[in-house]
Amino acid sequence: MKVLVPVKRVIDYNVKVRVKADGSGVDLANVKMSMNPFDEIAVEQAIRLKEAGKAEEVIAVSIGVKQNQETLRTALAMGADRAILVIAADDVHTDIEPLAVAKILAKVVEEEQPGIVLAGKQAIDNDMNATGQMLSALLGWSQGTFASGLDIDGDNAIVTREVDGGLQTIKVSMPTIISVDLRLNEPRYASLPNIMKAKKKPLDEKTAADYVVDVTPRLEVVKTDEPEARKAGEIVGSVDELVAKLKEAGAV
């Protein structure tokens, strides 16, 4: 079985984003970019499936700008076997929508015929939480979202999902799309020798047009604003003072 892992290049999760003054978006020029943290967990899980003898090949795929190569090399250094880059934008500020990404991924799935697609549950830039579900819909496959546990059992996958109120376990038929949550695993670091080896692993470069997918956005971004800033608060000196302030403010 092949495992396909979509990975996204996003602003590093530790960076405090800056909204551009003209409201046109978030400033991504000269900002540190990294692999979306949820996608690292998906890559890790794919490699663990391979190490457990449940998968033969791990293919990482990324859609976006040319620089997404770096993200794919990271996946290769972690242990993915080969990578596919689909260039669909020429500016880092163009975020391809989940629907278009899902359509491209559906074409890649048709070509590669993986038994499972492991995706992150959401990208930390657009916070959409949609691509995995959309891909599953387009393929008519089952879906196991927000997975914190995954076990492949013959023609089925047993998925433990993080839902409001606790955990839910479901059984989905393969092939399937799994979107992974934070607690599925602890992603490994790529070692220096593996980073060097990853440079020699195959990386196919394609374009959205190769897959005949229209990436025109359905949602026009009218503007991007800074969230309302909170008023500066005060530091109180003691618990008594805190209680008094809270009572005064009517908060308790």
Partner: protein, 308 residues
Amino acid sequence: MAVLLLAEVTDGELALDATAKAVTAAKQLGDITVLAAGATAAAAGEAAAKIDGVSKVLVAEDASLGHRLAEPTAALIVSLAGDYEHIVAPATTDAKNVLPRVAALLDVMVISDASGVVDANTFERPIYAGNAIQTVKSSDGKKVVSFRTATFDAAGEGGSAAVEAISAVANPGLSEWVEDKVAASDRPELTSAGVVVSGGRGVGSEDDFKLIEGLADKLGAAVGASRAAVDSGYAPNDWQVGQTGKVVAPDLYVAIGISGAIQHLAGMKDSKVIVAINKDEEAPIFQVSDYGLVADLFAAVPELTDKL
């Protein structure tokens, strides 16, 4: 214009708060029909009919709709979609599981976690862990939207909508439910609580988390946690507040032993009053707190619990 709103139904019971908040958000879009779907959903449908602003309720009961599996639930919604311009739901894990699937089946984009309605096509939503607010205008014929409930008030009671039973569609049979592990709690539900007391890594152990729970019980509050506290096993993961956990906006949020990472702030910075107790005066949480106390939580929290 008509709106189909997927009610939040858990084990046959309506999650009134989440559903009523989504009704408030959707009222601005048109006439609301609520869909209550589940293995049992009649009682939930009756409860939804009483929400002010609901014009009609559809009840779909079928074993295949139990536990809201995405494949049969999405198929049901798509079969009804013809009559509606908007298909909406509160942004719960159920809706986040189902709505993007519905959207893709209809070949439209989904608008996740909308925090504001500008007009029938235009919505505001937070991006980058809430560090920017994007206004998006949809060019799709149908709009599929989940609403961030924390930013809307719950619609009141007093409605008397007609309830109509409808049948489920064929189950695609791609998935089945195995089991639920529900965290038992007598405390208010985190996303609808008026007061939330949260603990972080600074609490140090599962045992010491009882300090947080003690203060919460004194205040009639729900208990929250940071990712660090959940990962360290101090608290169950459904208590996690933040970008990847729950988003809350209570009247009072008390953050104890929480540094205030970007990802945590994403889940609580719309709270009305924020109190932070932390021994590190440089902790970023003090930049968003209304009242900060630089102190050892092991001394301050018991004292605070006593004095309230």
